[in-house]
């Protein structure tokens, strides 16, 4: 009896969970995406980020060693939920994704690998907007080898 009830519950729940699972797979696929467009589609669907002065990216314009590229991202908007860092020409362009609680200030800094001279693209997510900025970095020695 209990087994049957469990089966019935599972059968009932499965279709409800499917879209969630699909979304989770889509999101995790963002890290294995091999182009910027594909990574963005995995994260944001058909929504296109809008270029915004509210997002700043601090990064040196010319990098000797692409294995260690310091980046700092700063947003001057309220309610930032996530910050994404992409390198346009890396084998997998999505480098890192930061999920901020409401207590977090929208400032993060880290160091990333950039394989070739290309744009570093930042997308900041709020409840209802996608704000973006980008900077081209010259890389003398690529950092993905």
């Amino acid at each position: 009896m209990r087994r049957r009830a469990l089966l019935r519950a599972t059968a009932f729940l499965a279709p409800l969970l499917r879209p969630l699972r699909a979304l989770a797979q889509l999101r995790s696929g963002a890290f294995s995406a091999t182009s910027l467009a594909e990574a963005m589609r995995a994260l944001f669907g058909e929504r296109a980020p809008e270029a915004s002065d509210a997002v700043t990216l601090d990064v040196e314009p010319k990098i000797e060693n692409g294995a260690v590229v310091p980046v700092q991202i700063n947003a001057t908007v309220e309610g930032v939920t996530a910050i994404n860092i992409f390198a346009e020409l890396n084998p997998n362009p999505l480098l890192a994704r930061f999920h901020l609680s409401p207590r977090c200030r929208p400032i993060v800094a880290t160091r990333v690998k950039v394989g070739a001279p290309s744009n570093i693209v930042i997308v900041v997510e709020t409840e209802d907007r996608l704000l973006s900025t980008r900077k081209f970095v010259e890389v003398v020695e690529g950092g993905c080898g």
């Binding site: 890192a96 977090c104 993060v108």
Partner: protein, 104 residues
């Protein structure tokens, strides 16, 4: 991987600033060992969590393209000097480490 995390905190005007370095190879899986000619398998941190007490303040999802010995800095509000901040990471092989410090 015990002892892989170094954390420095400062507290100013209601904001707690956290700066951290994690000792980790962050291997991409693309590089070749010059001694053996073999590809070095991918080995990198996939998730970093920062908690203030039980409250999750920041969750990071990382790729293999975060630099070796990753650096992370961020700020959050609502904590006080002496409160505990915990940083923990997990890598693609399921290894993990965690460290807790009192806010300076």
């Amino acid at each position: 991987m015990t002892g892989s995390i170094r954390i420095r905190t400062t507290h100013h005007a209601g904001w707690t600033s956290v700066r951290s370095i994690i000792r980790h190879p962050m291997e991409t899986g693309f590089s070749v060992d010059p001694e053996t000619g073999q590809v070095i398998p991918a080995h990198y941190i996939t998730e970093v969590l920062c908690r203030h007490g039980d409250d999750l303040v920041l969750r990071c999802e990382w790729s293999r393209a975060v630099s070796r010995n990753p650096y992370l800095s961020f700020e959050f509000s609502g904590a006080h000097p002496g409160d505990r901040v915990t940083l923990s990471w997990t890598d693609n092989r399921g290894a993990s480490d965690s460290a807790t410090v009192a806010i300076a």
